[in-house]
């Protein structure tokens, strides 16, 4: 299974203490019921947790809380209860700065309030065949000296990266007391973890991610979204973690359905650097993961055309997402998860704050 190295900083940065993952109100580390021991540190490196610990994931719309204390948006008025201070980080809404503290201590501290509305997070993790690709070495991605994945692979796949990302988002959501659920899928739903804010949900999510494997089936996101929407009554934040190698029209339809049901959505398109650059040099036969016909070609001869086709698809997907008012983020497997997620969440929250919602 993927290692916590998904979010490990570059090797030249100091490693954090091993006790960090279990601090605070983070979901307890646990051992899964499966044959393998699942540890939160397998997914969330202490550095990542430290980076994400102070963030809150918000939905763009007013979430209808179903749990006790469900209220309107805490940003709309006074209906919030002060909880604590935390240090300012770039991107935080300056309106929440506690100027008094600043006047006394000369430090920028942010006021945090007890959240009274619940956020339902539904993670959709793509486990189709194409997610099994990865050109980055596992040793490079792990940064902890491990050269092989638990199942013996030497490469770090897109699915590895997507599961790490999903685990991190679930961690954040559960930590802030919201509900999180999980769906893994390809052309159909593989596994589901119902939304819950209980402490055991984290373990359920991690167990489901550990048990998932990319199948050899293509993605059918429209079908999966429809099936998922059928199980959800209240409004949710959908986080789609996929390479989105699918017909843009199908993606558009799926997102339209989400929008129609007044849900929010974030698309994380997970891609490998090789898929972006296509930097092969030798003529070779190329074979797909999802039963596509193999072709022999000179990569240099068609690199430009490939990059053009790939770029057009990515831009179209992004345009579609943004057209529905959803966030789109390109996640490179060769990048570091912690800073990327932190930056994304920070920007998103800042955007929501400015919109006044």
């Amino acid at each position: 299974m993927p290692d916590a190295a998904a979010s490990v900083p570059p090797a030249d940065q100091p490693a954090a203490a091993p006790s960090e993952p279990a601090r605070g109100d983070a979901p307890a580390t646990g051992s899964g019921g499966g044959p393998e021991r699942i540890d939160a540190s397998d997914y969330l490196h202490p550095q990542t947790l430290a980076r994400l610990g102070t963030f809150e994931l918000r939905a763009k719309m007013i979430v209808e809380g179903i749990a006790a204390g469900a209220h309107r948006s805490p940003h709309s008025g006074v209906s919030v209860e002060f909880a604590q201070h935390r240090p300012y980080t770039p991107g935080d809404d300056l309106r929440h700065l506690d100027w008094k503290v600043y006047a006394k201590t000369d430090k920028l501290q942010l006021k945090q309030y007890q959240q009274e509305t619940n956020l339902d997070l539904m993670l959709l993790v793509d486990a189709s065949g194409s997610m099994a690709y990865g050109s980055r070495s596992f040793a490079d991605a792990s940064g902890s000296g491990r050269k092989l994945s638990p199942d013996g692979r030497t490469n770090w796949t897109k699915f590895d990266h997507a599961t790490a990302c999903a685990a991190a988002l679930a961690y954040i959501t559960l930590r802030q007391g919201d509900r999180a659920g999980l769906v893994t899928f390809s052309d159909d739903i593989h596994a589901t973890v119902p939304r819950s804010s209980q402490r055991s949900t984290w373990k359920q999510v991690v167990d489901a991610l550990a048990a998932a494997r990319p199948s050899e089936q293509p993605t059918d996101i429209r079908r999966v979204v429809d099936q998922t929407l059928g199980q959800i009554g209240n409004r949710c934040l959908f986080v789609i973690l996929s390479d989105l190698f699918e017909d843009p029209e199908a993606i558009k339809t799926a997102l339209a359905h989400i929008k129609h049901r007044r849900h929010d959505a974030i698309c994380f398109q997970v891609v490998d650097d090789s898929e972006l650059n296509f930097d092969f040099t030798d003529t070779a036969p190329f074979e797909g993961f999802e039963g596509e016909p193999g072709i022999r070609l000179d990569p240099r001869a068609i690199r430009r055309a490939y990059q053009q086709a790939f770029g057009e698809h990515r831009e179209r997907v992004e345009r579609t997402c943004r057209g529905f008012g959803f966030d789109y983020h390109l996640v490179r497997t060769h990048g570091w998860l912690g800073p990327t997620l932190a930056e994304f969440i920070s920007r998103r929250n800042a955007l929501i704050g400015r919109s006044g919602r």
Binding site: D279, F286, F289, E292, D298, A301, A305
Partner: protein, 734 residues
């Protein structure tokens, strides 16, 4: 188009497969790449497929073309037959004059040594690496194409030139030109190209004896250049032994009139003919079993008077004590400018007696004296005039009993009663003549019709349409000697001076007509009737066999003639038999360069001097005999059959000079109209001048355009490969 290095060409063309093989091998060795974003790859591939395939095809084509052009360049294509092409490989035909005239010494070495040196230099000027080729034809007749077609092994050609020996035969430029023309035309047929462009180098001084400008040369193909070394400038004095003529070729020592006399005929040419000159003539008698004799058996001094070009020198040899059999008479003169024609050989046989068979009915008594002599009695009397007279052994043979066994040991057979010889007898006589026997026939007196003439025509090819019945003359006819010496032949040559007086008393009352139907037979007519009919006819049967048939127009009978009662009868019959035996034995002498006809049963020619044996095939030597020599003709059991004497070709020993204009015109006549005139090199000109203008030694020739083409395509391939490899994208992304 031909190629100087066809093997390199083939190897290079096979190498064209290399790019394809490499392409296939690399194609098989690639490991597949698992790829997720196949939808974009397939989309891009569909857009680029046609262009990529075209680029790859062009690249493969370029690479194959480069290899092919390099192969062709290495193969060195020869356009226009290639030989001597201004920028291609050259072909040189060396015609080395090793004829008898090339042995002329004008100062130091023989001229042959000089021309051989120049020929070697000319071949060494060629460059085998550049595809140059050389052929060698030795001119000593008949022309010997030693290296034809031309070879690129120039070292071997040089070695053959250096090991070439002079011959005693005439130069055969005609044969050499024929060989070259045939080779060039066959090269045309084989290569499908113009075989012109070759250079023919005549390596010889071309004196009068070597250049028979009266005989036109065979035509050479277009484009061939003819170059000749500088011809001889000065005439040289030379004396040749033109003939050695023993009085008889068969000598019975005990016979009357037989002596050891012979005549040596000398011929001199050159500017010195105007003055007096003496030369010593020595004659050696070589025994075939003991080789050449070191000591002369006879000697004489010949003195040419001013202006005389020919001289007959009589030489007397001591008669051998016993019948020593066949001997070789070798006449030699002192060395002069040309030594090869200073000796000549002739054969002579010293016999104890001649065995003559008289084919006539036996007569048990001769009562009545001369008046009742039968023709065979006259024959016996003429051939054995006295009891003591030696030289001829007579044997009686019944006409009905003539067979091969009885004829085997005879030197001559005299048929007195031809009508009584049966068919088997004539068959035996035919075989006997073909083996070299002498057959003398007189008409029969017992019957009016001479039916034997049919057998003569059938068995010997001698047809006598008027001889079937004798003609009776109203007035006795006279007998006259043949006025034409050549037509008279050698039979009565020894008595020729007295023959007129001897035959004057002879009268003929009836005779058969011995005029031959047809001219195939080689016939002599030493004596004629005053009517013009042959009185005595000697004919060789048609074909290449030996033997001689002598016919007398009359029977030795008073009803026919009074010949038998006249003094001429003795010398007439004696000479017929003695000279006829020699003539029937066939010519033992032949000219150098020929393949003489040998006696039946000959298997080997063994030289008297220590040189290699020559095998015999179908009655002739397997190769022309170009050197003067004496051979023993042996049968397959090693028994001596006869001698074969090869004498130098005196006609080719004229050491005069041919005017350059005449020489140029003669050689030029062999070239097509409009072709370049033959080049006569100057004395100091080097063989390098054999190159035509613009030609360079060792040049790459026609290979250059192919190399240039390969370079251009290589440059194009490099550009195309860079475009097809999309290297600029690598650089942009780097």
């Amino acid at each position: 188009m031909s190629f100087a290095n066809p093997l390199l060409l083939i190897a290079g063309l096979l190498a064209v497969a290399l790019p394809i093989v490499i392409h296939i091998l690399f194609r098989r060795r690639r490991r597949p790449v698992r790829w997720a974003a196949m939808r974009f790859l397939i989309e891009a591939y569909r857009k680029q497929r046609r262009r990529t395939r075209l680029e790859q095809f062009l690249l493969l084509l370029c690479r194959c073309l480069i290899v092919a052009l390099l192969a062709v360049a290495l193969g060195r294509p020869l356009l226009g037959g290639g030989a001597g092409d201004a920028q291609g490989a050259r072909t040189l035909y060396v015609l080395l004059d090793n004829s008898i005239a090339s042995g002329a010494v004008d100062g130091g070495d023989a001229e042959f040594e000089g021309v051989r040196r120049r020929a070697v230099e000319a071949v060494r000027e060629l460059d085998a690496a550049a595809g140059d080729r050389a052929a060698l034809v030795l001119l000593g007749g008949p022309a010997d194409p030693v290296v034809v077609p031309p070879s690129t092994d120039l070292a071997a050609v040089v070695q053959l030139i250096e090991s070439a020996q002079r011959t005693d035969s005439a130069a055969d430029l005609q044969g050499a030109f024929e060989a070259i023309a045939s080779d060039l035309s066959s090269a045309d047929d084989a290569l499908g190209a113009d075989a012109g462009g070759a250079t023919v180098l005549i390596a010889g001084r071309l004196r009068l004896g070597a250049a028979d400008t009266g005989r036109p040369l065979p035509a050479l193909p277009a484009g061939v250049r003819v170059v000749t070394l500088p011809p001889a400038q000065a005439e040289i004095d030379n004396i040749s032994v033109a003939a050695v003529e023993p009085i008889r070729s068969v000598i019975a020592p005990g016979a009357a009139g037989d002596t050891g006399q012979l005549v040596v005929r000398l011929v001199r040419r050159g500017p010195g003919v105007g003055g007096a000159q003496s030369v010593r003539v020595r004659v050696f008698v070589d025994d075939p079993d003991r080789g050449e004799s070191p000591a002369p058996a006879g000697e004489a001094v010949a003195r040419f008077s001013p202006g005389a070009s020919e001289l007959r020198v009589p030489v007397t040899l001591p008669a051998p004590d016993a019948a020593v059999g066949r001997q070789v008479l070798r006449a030699e003169i002192d060395n002069d400018a040309l030594s090869a024609d200073n000796r000549r050989r002739a054969a002579v046989a010293f016999r104890g007696s001649l065995r003559v068979g008289v084919i006539a009915s036996a007569r048990f008594s001769n009562d009545g004296g001369v008046a009742r002599f039968a023709p065979q009695d006259w024959f016996r009397l003429a051939l054995q005039p006295t009891e003591e007279a030696g030289g001829v052994d007579l044997q009686n043979i019944e006409p009905a009993a003539v067979d091969a066994a009885r004829l085997r040991d005879l030197d001559a057979a005299v048929v007195i009663e031809p009508n009584r010889v049966g068919s088997a007898g004539w068959a035996a006589l035919s075989g006997y003549v073909q083996r070299g026997g002498l057959l003398v026939i007189t008409p029969g007196t017992e019957e009016r019709v001479q039916s034997w003439t049919d057998a003569l025509g059938e068995r010997f090819g001698l047809r006598l349409p008027g001889a079937r019945e004798a003609r009776v003359f109203e007035t006795p006819a006279a007998v006259e000697p043949q006025p034409d010496e050549a037509r008279a032949g050698p039979l009565l040559r020894l008595v020729a001076p007295e023959l007129q007086a001897l035959v004057r008393p002879v009268s003929v009352t009836q005779a058969i007509d011995l005029r031959l139907d047809g001219t195939e037979a080689d016939a002599w007519v030493p004596l004629l009737l005053d009517s013009g009919w042959p009185f005595l006819l000697a004919a060789k049967p048609p074909g290449e066999g030996r033997g001689l048939v002598v016919l007398l127009a009359v029977a030795l009978d008073p009803a026919w003639t009074n010949l038998q009662t006249k003094p001429v009868i003795v010398p007439l019959l004696q000479e017929i038999v003695r000279q006829g035996v020699g003539a029937a034995g066939g010519a033992d002498e032949a000219q150098a360069g020929s393949r003489p006809v040998l006696p039946a049963g000959a298997a080997t020619l063994a030289p008297l001097a220590a040189r290699g044996e020559v095998r015999v095939n179908e009655g002739r030597p397997v190769r022309p005999l170009r050197d003067a020599a004496a051979f023993r003709v042996l049968d397959d059991r090693g028994g001596l059959l006869s001698l074969a004497l090869i004498n130098p070709d005196i006609a080719a020993t004229d050491l005069g000079v041919v005017p350059p204009d005449e020489l140029t015109a003669w050689l030029g006549a062999a070239l097509p109209q409009g072709a370049a005139a033959p080049v006569v090199m100057s004395e100091n000109e080097s063989p390098a001048s054999l190159r035509s203008s613009g030609e360079t030694a060792g040049g790459l020739g026609f290979a250059w355009p192919f190399l240039l083409g390969a370079l251009l395509i290589a440059a194009f391939e490099a550009v195309l490969a860079r475009i097809a490899s999309h290297a600029e994208i690598d650089e942009a992304t780097a």
